[in-house]
Symmetry: C2
Subunit: 142 residues, 2 copies
Amino acid sequence: MRIGELAERAGTTTRTLRYYESRGLLPARRGSNGYRTYDEDDLKLLRQIRTLQDFGFDLEETRPFVECLRAGHPEGDACPASLAVYRRKLGELDALIDELRSVRDQVGGQLARAERAMDELASEAAVPGGPEPVCELGGRTG
Amino acid sequence: MRIGELAERAGTTTRTLRYYESRGLLPARRGSNGYRTYDEDDLKLLRQIRTLQDFGFDLEETRPFVECLRAGHPEGDACPASLAVYRRKLGELDALIDELRSVRDQVGGQLARAERAMDELASEAAVPGGPEPVCELGGRTG
DNA sequence: GTAATCCTTGACGCCGACGTCAAGGCAAGC
DNA sequence: GCTTGCCTTGACGTCGGCGTCAAGGATTAC
């Protein structure tokens, strides 16, 4: 098949395929007219790349998987180098998630604090005499 | 103070300050010699920007906080526009964390599956007679 | 006075994964 | 033969937040 058909079947673009080829990731045979020619195995390689890309893998990180498939393995992750990438990625994901959770909590705390401050200012404005500290256990002082 | 001192006191670079100025975020007065001149308030603005940047806020997202401070508020998040940014950011963080967790689980699952497959292949290689299904409840068949 | 250190503007570089446009070749339907 | 649509290579654009020169003026230290 030609580049347009492969791109469409994989849900991507011809530009992407040429880019992968320029990176040495998905080289193509050439027909007599100079057109790139692909087969079903190339589609499998491409789908492997796309899946990992969707996971957020860098293009370079997909290389071991592609080479593993090209070596004849039925799955791209049936090779030690691929497993190493998986493990490294897991560590990166865990670290990133932890960091994002920390940031999330800090931002959440800042938001809560700022909202309280705004509420207090609103009360202050509503009561011209100034802010009266509100005791949650007691009744109204006014 | 001049740009170098401000940069050092805020733990950043002169290039960064000029960049912020080019974005209209942190304009500077000029001395008679053309040098940029900053005061303590600018340091406060800058620290607000840097804190949010460290949280992963885009530069544009820090603008409401800076404008809030410049409007005379003691805190950059004492304005509705800043709170809106906080809330939007919280939503983005939650969504991103969820997505990353999903990816993490999928990658973890793939890793576990691939490791099992490798182990099975190893057993197969160790036992020339081929793979014998191992029943977790039963004993050794050999 | 002069060397070292600041400051100025301008402009290109970087990173990753492509998008987009240009100029032209090849193929297929009518 | 003419149009339409695929293909080719080449090259510049994108996005964000700066880094890194380069060439020259101002200031400061000695």
